[in-house]
């Protein structure tokens, strides 16, 4: 049974606003996943070199770029985490 009065979930009379921040963080992650996927498909996927270059080199370049994208993704997420949970992390 949902209890919207005071003792459950994000509705602790505004006391437990941290829950709202967690939802915001999850939503940010979701958006980053959608955007990151788009970057992979639009920019990294179509990369190809002239036929005389070994396909393995193309693959290595794609993997390197994908890993770089994941690194950036984690970096942005860490920044968002620090920004959203700043007050909690300092305490």
């Amino acid at each position: 049974m949902w209890n919207f009065s005071c003792d459950n979930g994000i509705f602790y009379g505004g006391k437990n606003l941290i829950s709202v921040k967690i939802y915001a963080f999850i939503f940010s992650m979701w958006i980053l996943i959608l955007v990151g996927g788009g970057l992979m498909v639009i920019f990294i996927g179509p990369i190809s070199f002239p036929v005389d270059i070994d396909p393995k080199i193309t693959s290595v370049v794609k993997i390197s770029l994908a890993l770089f994208l994941i690194f950036i993704w984690v970096l942005i997420l860490t920044k968002i985490k620090n920004w959203i949970f700043r007050s909690q992390l300092k305490s």
Partner: protein
């Protein structure tokens, strides 16, 4: 379609009722053999039988075998084998405390059947934008997926009912997503996981009568991971377990290394009325539970409810993502 619905009902019933019926037997057997651990979040010396992985794996694998008899495809076979291997890794860790690197490495080897059976598609699909083909990167993803999902579920198994509850919600979301994407066979496999987990949740929920242990958490996590790969829904699967992913992310970015969970300082303390509150210890890791109780001490049951609400939210996002998979910009 009607035939698939009947099969889904049959295998889901096998998964749910096997785990539901077997778990009390194992509770008695484990208790009589004194295979119990203290529930640290309860007042007094409350001892809970552990591990509960055996009834989970029996019910789950029985249902998956029944599914394989209806749909004899390599993907279902891969699910069965990886589930059993994940359980074995967990059982080793239940019996003997292994180092922090044991589980990730052992679970990486559990992905071998997926590769050997060729039960994967090297195209990585993303919502809205389509798919990208990077076969080498995808092979690495297959190897890493099982350790990630296994350890992620294991790391959230800190409160009564949370691991089984989160897997139940995420698996239902994954099953709905697979049905939306018209991948019915793997969708039914995901339903088996959801119902097996639900059957166990009945005894694992607050106040727990049994703990899943590493064997239970890893069989749930590794099965979830293999379904994500063979169902070709890796991104959706990651979204559906975002609360557990966030827990691991917060933990790893605060500890900055992979360690066995028994080695870490407890991020939460108990108040006099046995609610959980955040620790003042600066070096203790940041976890999802620590964030939830950052402002206000909460009871174990309240925290569990918070995590389930987050899981439902992520489940909804996962289903929305499944609809996005069908749309191309």
């Amino acid at each position: 379609m009607q035939e698939q619905i009947i099969i889904a009902i049959i295998v889901s019933s096998i998964a749910f009722f096997s785990v539901y019926a077997l778990t009390p037997i194992f509770i008695k057997a484990l208790t009589s053999r004194n295979l119990t651990v203290k529930d640290v979040n309860k007042k007094g010396n409350v001892m809970i039988p552990r591990p509960g992985g055996i009834p989970i794996v029996i019910g789950l694998v029985a249902a998956e075998i029944a599914l394989y008899l209806f749909f004899p495809i390599s993907e279902i076979l891969a699910v069965i084998i990886v589930s059993v291997l994940g359980f074995c890794v967990g059982l080793v860790d239940d019996r003997k405390v292994m180092g922090g690197w044991f589980k990730p490495l052992a679970l990486a080897f559990c992905a071998a059947p997926i590769l050997l059976l060729g039960a994967y598609d090297s195209n990585l699909s993303f919502p809205l934008f389509g798919s990208v083909q990077i076969p080498s990167l995808y092979l690495a993803l297959v190897v890493f997926m099982i350790p990630i999902t296994g350890n992620t579920i294991n790391s959230i198994d800190v409160l009564n009912g949370v691991a089984s509850g989160v897997v139940t919600i995420a698996s239902f979301a994954l099953a709905i997503s697979l049905f939306i994407m018209q991948n019915y066979e793997i969708g039914i496999a995901s339903l088996c996981l959801a119902f097996a987990s639900l059957g166990f949740y009945k005894y694992h929920k607050f106040p727990s009568r049994i703990f899943p242990g590493d064997s239970g958490a890893l069989v749930l996590g590794s099965t979830y991971g293999v379904i994500a790969i063979v169902g070709h829904v890796e991104v959706i699967a990651a979204i559906a377990i975002l609360p557990a992913v966030i827990n691991s992310f917060l933990f790893l970015t605060s500890v900055k290394k992979i360690v066995e969970h028994r080695e870490i300082k407890n991020p939460v303390l108990h108040t006099d009325d046995f609610k959980l509150k955040t620790t003042d210890e600066k070096t203790a890791p940041i976890t999802l539970v620590r964030l939830i109780v950052a402002k206000l001490p909460l009871s174990e049951k309240q925290i569990g409810t918070e995590i389930f609400k987050l899981s439902i939210f992520c489940g909804i996002l996962a289903v929305i993502t499944a609809f996005f998979m069908e749309v191309k910009i």
